[in-house]
Symmetry: D2
Subunit: 299 residues, 4 copies
């Protein structure tokens, strides 16, 4: 079917390629137009403006945070002003529950549809059509967009009629991943300082109880202290903890582990790891155990 995608970072570009491979007619837009032009060979049409991209009946957005999406939607000539009545905006970004609720209300006011459809997976998964997608919103809109979601990955979780439920699921998932990072960091620091070979420990744990691939992947990054290049950057991880804590506070749910993880991310920021992968909190655990010196950039 026909769609547009606005926001061509690594994730957006990967999703665009999967949609094109899936046989959809895709128009793409990016502020830096070269990233859009690069997709012409894959069959994409390139829009010169947000307004032009909004001629599609389904418009995806994939940007870094609330501020970027608010700018796309609410600025003059933005999506809210440009999208025809009856068309649908599908937000793929990891945004706050509050913004998702606001978008649902504003698009409804404008006679437009809105779905929140955040995704799990790294850029490679996006390009390989292996994302897991969580979608929230009216069932008829979900139904309409299903062929597009099917081209993004094999796993679609339809969470309910309220779009922001999908954002709750996404934030819950990222919280659980961040917890894995922090708990591995603590366990590995404890084991190393007690004289256990950390690599052997990780092999044992991930071949018995903790067989989920993310334990192996992130565990190895922490054991090796390899946090560059950033698959998912520290500031994005901190943003997600902020979003989950905000949403949980609004729902009156204390999340003490989320608070611990947030503090670690902040310390990692204070020590100059802004460009590192979020697994760098494993290094903070090691530093706080006196195993290694904090990054010199920190002070």
């Amino acid at each position: 079917m026909e769609a547009a995608l606005i926001g061509l970072g690594m994730m957006g570009t990967g999703i665009a390629k999967s949609l094109l491979r899936g046989g959809h007619r895709l128009t793409v837009y990016n502020r830096t137009i070269s990233r859009a032009e690069a997709l012409r060979d894959d069959g994409a049409q390139v829009a010169a403006s947000i307004a032009e991209a909004c001629r599609s009946e389904v418009v995806f957005t994939m940007v870094a945070d609330d501020a970027a999406l608010e700018s796309l939607v609410f600025s003059g000539g933005g999506i809210l002003a440009s999208l025809p009545r009856g068309a649908v905006h599908v937000s793929l970004s990891t945004i706050s529950v509050a913004l998702s609720d606001k978008l649902a209300a504003e698009h409804a006011n404008a006679g437009q549809g809105f779905l929140a459809a955040p995704v799990f997976g790294r850029p490679e998964a996006a390009e390989a059509a292996r994302l897991a997608v969580v979608v929230g919103g009216p069932a008829d809109l979900v139904q309409k967009c299903r062929p597009l979601f099917d081209s993004m990955g094999p796993k679609l979780f339809v969470v309910g009629e309220k779009p922001s439920l999908a954002n709750v699921v996404k934030l819950s998932g990222n919280f659980l991943i961040a917890t894995v990072l922090e708990s591995l960091g603590e366990a590995i620091a404890f084991a190393r300082k007690s004289g256990v070979d950390a690599g052997a420990l990780l092999d044992f744990l991930t071949s018995t109880l903790f067989t989920a691939p993310l334990y192996k992947t992130y565990g190895n990054l922490i054991v090796e202290g390899k946090h560059e290049p950033a698959g998912f950057s520290l500031p994005l991880g901190l943003k997600d903890m902020r979003l989950v804590l905000q949403a949980a506070e609004s729902a009156s749910v204390p999340m003490p582990i989320a608070s611990v993880v947030r503090d670690r991310f902040i310390t990692a920021m204070a020590r100059g790891n802004q460009d590192k992968d979020w697994s760098v909190i494993g290094s903070v655990a090691a530093e706080d155990a006196g195993l290694t010196k904090p990054s010199p950039a920190a002070v």
Copy 2:
């Protein structure tokens, strides 16, 4: 080969059966002798005293905690007094790093061998020879006991020459499991209170990112609020957090998530859940979010 096993709780009984099925000649001892007698049909010899059990060249112990093991080993007529020079005591229990170090020293003084070999797995796994065993101690002793370990499960992790390293690994593993419980409890409370169906959330997460079976098993217990019968009881979980925090403190390693989990276990104890499974901390997360009333037994 020939061995003895002292301590026939659910875990010890399961291990005894696996050893017998593995073709070893096993003598068993338990304070309440009926639990030993019950193993006669499986081929076990029954010892009338610890001293009698100590005529074997390898003596396993499997008891609930430090105090129980100290009593077995150090009391008059205990293992230390009864075991011949050159024989080996293999401790399968989840005990403190400090006690493991003490046992290594005391047995060495007495000309006896000592291995720490804590196990991962529930009673069913013990009986089905599917435990994962971590062993620390001198390589020749490990080599000697290997046929016995092989009858307990397919996975043996030899961690080093110092017995207590195995206890560090065991405690690290239990800390990681407890973290999974707490983080699932927080995520599920957040999702439920935000309007997400918790069962559907769990299905999605465990079929995508968190494929390790323990996420599914414990996640379901938390979603259903089903914490009886106790597969692993709350007081044992609290004991393990105490042991990991003690050992980490000795090694000067802060473990903030372990502290959070410990606090949850304590609150669960304060609310009268002594006989419940340690996954009951998921209920504490729900209670602290105002979702459910604390157990009436608590107050």
Copy 3:
């Protein structure tokens, strides 16, 4: 001198009375005009609109939170639009560092002055001219307003040229007070459950080490479980923890105790204590120790 005050809650009303008693010519404005009329007998002039109040050269605002102040300042006919060039807006409210920075910038753009001057003290202290005031902003403006501050209380802390520094100080102070609440709650729960008489404990501690009156005042509220009426309400306490954590995150400063306190406030909210004093977190500490049942309204 001449001034106006917008926002006549308990704090604003008390400050208005102190300013009038100090001999200043004060115009007051409140959305619900009856609260303004009530000050006529004290000598206040009553403005019919924000614009009318803004005819003064110094305009104080005292409202509950960021949203209320933003509405006062930025709405049509608000302070930003109404205040003459050269006049000064003095914000007395406990607001975010970010909003304080924004107000400084916007007023500067409009050729207006801005001071942040949050206050410490309860309504009784406001009325009795016993507040402690912290002021941030250009020295000449501080100098100009000093006679007004002097009528509010004996203690003025001039923190620097940047207005939001005063908000940092205010938030730091409220964080320290909230820490006192939480730590007293924990200590009292521990003592009570161990069999110590909590009242006697508090008498001892506050007559030896913890002689600051707030330990006695809040300690008694916690010992007696008396959290109504609210001197400072739970939602305001939670707001302040949110503001201090936001500002500290922006400055890359982890504040783990602030996170703990925030979680307690959230649990207290989840249990239906919205109308209670913020010292109600002492009850949460007792509940989590199994000493008392959570409020029935919670579930």
Copy 4:
């Protein structure tokens, strides 16, 4: 009256001087006898052994920790073996609730009396008879020893018939002090990194809300980063957090702030601050905010 005092560290020596000045006949004992001899000029008798010191009807002990006191009491020729029936052992040390309970039971078995009487105050206060003493135990024994307590300081808190209640009070108090250290550390790091002058902040806070002297004393140490010489050393502070958490766990009381403080103490240990004052956790707060480098000794 007549008494003996065993354990002549800085605190014990100060108390001995106050007792002598109070007109009591005091026998002193210390393993390193020179510290005892030094008190001859003040009028003390010097005992050559524990047994000799135990000829007094009241024997005080003041040592560093549980292990030291257990050794004094339970070793051959120790207090338990040497003290006559009817005489009383008064433990002034900060020890665990569990050991206090054990001492009460063992002394009772031996027909001896036991009081727990931990003290608040630094060595200077001990020597100046300005300690605050908390005493737990049978009323008649407290009555008997009252003239001795009166010579130690003006403030005696009689907490009840069970000796260990006094230890609960002491641990509660030290927990509250440690909380002050950590919260000041966090607030000062936040303020400094936001651009506020930390010294001025502290002056303001301690002259308004936080007038208890310990805020000023410890606040200044933290602002100046002056943690040597140690008035109360980091390892002793860590010990006290361990004891309060153990006792609270036994009573099923979660104390999340105590856990946070404990983690900070551990990190401070890991960074090589063993010889510093416990206020050094203020430096950890600064380091975790990226303000200063961790001590080089740490890595």
